[in-house]
């Protein structure tokens, strides 16, 4: 059963730098997207803190990333212990995530399971072959591909997968020997902090060097300082195209930086005339409405062969009418609210632009009346049909 309460220490944002938790003035409120009530608050990390985190990470690199001192297997064992703590606390993490991000509890649970899978995968890699022996032209010469850590990494993650995406990036970085400074989305810093608290337990149990993973908080400028910092090498980013492009540009201008960016999509689901229509409609509903269409892989376009389009559309509209968004803790809803007021504005703007371009409005956008609650009702979701005028 999920925990129904959030502990006071979980609500209070702290920086985690060089293995120490530091309370700070709480500057950024963390809101529940369902009702805009305050869950907690986090500090905005200042330049001094960020520089300390980067310095601590570079200090940790001398041990953590040095194969004369720490083995691959030992790094993977820390991650293995981490994932065991995550498993123990998965109900609390999922509940916190549902309240903080508005992701439906069902989806929040799956998000935590995905984080567990990723950390299990990373831990398992610790005993897999590393590098390769290769042949040489010269009989007395032996050649090897030796894999060296790349250096300190910045990890910047979005709100829509508050546990899974951080582990996708932090897990491989750590097992490969690269210390991390982690800046989660300011929408979901408490879920991220919970995850880092569980890492801290594992790190202490194994005597990992302090600074191998640091947590800082704040808006875009905080992330930008880390990306620009001359002592961070890897820039691991998931989020919008605009920010990701900036990360890539900053990395490209520096002799020793590299960027790993995942930056959204314009995804289509194509339905051909021989398709199983029931399956196609269900796939379209899941693609369009899970996480209230706030996944980077959500489908914007349903591209349907003309011969079956009227029937597909009839059935899709029928099921859409039953789709409900609302309280992420209530099983009656398919998905939760939009993340914040800015997203509601974007929803309205997007609907208007689409409706201007497309003459055939199958379902009028009506979300405006609900704009203050962040919850677009199903009837607020417009569906239009091309071809476009």
């Amino acid at each position: 059963m999920p925990s129904k309460t959030i502990e006071p220490q979980t609500r209070q944002g702290r920086e985690y730098i060089a293995g120490e938790w530091k309370p700070h003035r709480q500057e950024l409120e963390v809101l529940n997207p369902s009702d805009h009530s305050t869950i907690g608050a986090v500090p905005v990390s200042q330049v001094e803190s960020l520089d300390r985190a980067v310095a601590a990470a570079n200090d940790a690199l001398d041990t953590w990333g040095n194969h004369l001192k720490w083995s691959w297997v030992r790094r993977a064992e820390v991650v293995d212990t981490w994932v065991q703590h995550v498993r123990k606390h998965q109900a609390e993490l999922a509940f916190l995530m549902a309240v903080e991000s508005g992701k439906h509890l069902d989806e929040s649970r799956a998000d935590v399971v995905e984080a567990i899978h990723m950390l299990q995968y990373c831990a398992g890699r610790g005993r897999q072959p590393i590098g390769e022996r290769v042949a040489s032209e010269i009989p007395d010469k032996e050649a090897e591909i030796y894999l060296a850590p790349r250096g300190v990494c910045t990890v910047i993650t979005p709100w829509n997968f508050p546990a899974a995406i951080p582990t996708w990036l932090i897990g491989p970085a750590l097992v490969c020997g690269n210390p991390v400074v982690f800046k989660p989305s300011e929408e979901t810093p408490l879920t991220a902090q919970y995850l880092v608290r569980l890492f801290d337990l594992a790190a202490r149990e194994h005597g990992a060097p302090p600074g191998v993973l640091s947590l800082v908080h704040g808006p875009g400028q905080v992330g930008e300082h880390l990306v620009r910092h001359p002592d961070t090498v890897g820039q691991l980013f998931t989020g919008s195209h605009g920010v990701g492009s900036k990360v890539k540009q900053i990395a490209a201008a520096h002799y020793d930086k590299f960027a790993v960016c995942e930056m959204g999509g314009k995804n289509s689901l194509i339905v051909l005339e021989d398709a199983n229509l029931e399956l196609a409609v269900n796939a379209a509903i899941l693609s369009a409405y899970k996480t209230t269409h706030q996944r980077c892989v959500s489908s914007d376009l349903l591209i349907v062969q003309k011969s079956i389009e009227p029937e597909f559309t009839r059935r899709f509209l029928e099921v859409t009418d039953r789709v409900r968004f609302g309280d992420p803790l209530n099983a009656a809803f398919l998905a939760g609210p939009l993340i914040n007021r800015k997203a509601v504005d974007k929803f309205e703007d997007c609907a208007s632009r689409i409706e201007e371009e497309c003459e055939d409005r199958l379902r009028q956008g009506g979300g405006r009346a609900r704009a203050t609650s962040s919850v677009p009702t199903s009837s607020g979701c417009p569906i239009v049909r091309g071809p476009l005028p």
Binding site: K141, I303, C350, I354
Partner: protein, 124 residues
């Protein structure tokens, strides 16, 4: 192509619960519309036609392709990440592991003399 290229609806990411249904003549036109944006993250094809499935696999310019499944539903041990505007093709479990390391060449000579590759003279 009947669908006007370059429109907001066909090219820009919504990231909000808006949906556009686009009727097309055939598979070829569907692939054209699906590939018209600068993004290349995820795509689904609903069909039982195994030849179309293969064309979709080979020709689809995106990082995640699904047949008879939604465009959502990644698993951690598979690649994840987009082509084109969607990203650098990562993160993805196995490949990110390679990328997070610097591959270096390490070679040792066990002989008492130097012999060079490519037949290069070692005389000094």
């Amino acid at each position: 192509m009947s669908n006007r290229p370059g429109t907001f609806a066909l090219t820009q990411e919504f990231f909000t619960p808006n949906v556009v249904i686009v009727p097309v003549e055939d598979f070829e036109e569907a692939m054209q519309v699906a590939g018209a944006s600068e993004y290349g993250l995820s795509m689904s094809l609903m069909t039982d036609d195994f030849r179309k499935m293969r064309e979709f696999k080979v020709l689809g310019r995106c990082g995640l392709k699904y047949v008879n499944l939604p465009t959502i539903g990644a698993e951690v041990h598979l690649p994840f990440g987009g082509m084109k505007r969607s990203g650098t093709g990562m993160p993805s479990a196995a490949w990110l592991f390679n990328y997070m390391c610097h591959a270096t060449a390490f070679t040792v000579n066990y002989a008492e003399e130097i012999r060079m590759a490519q037949g290069l003279s070692a005389e000094v």
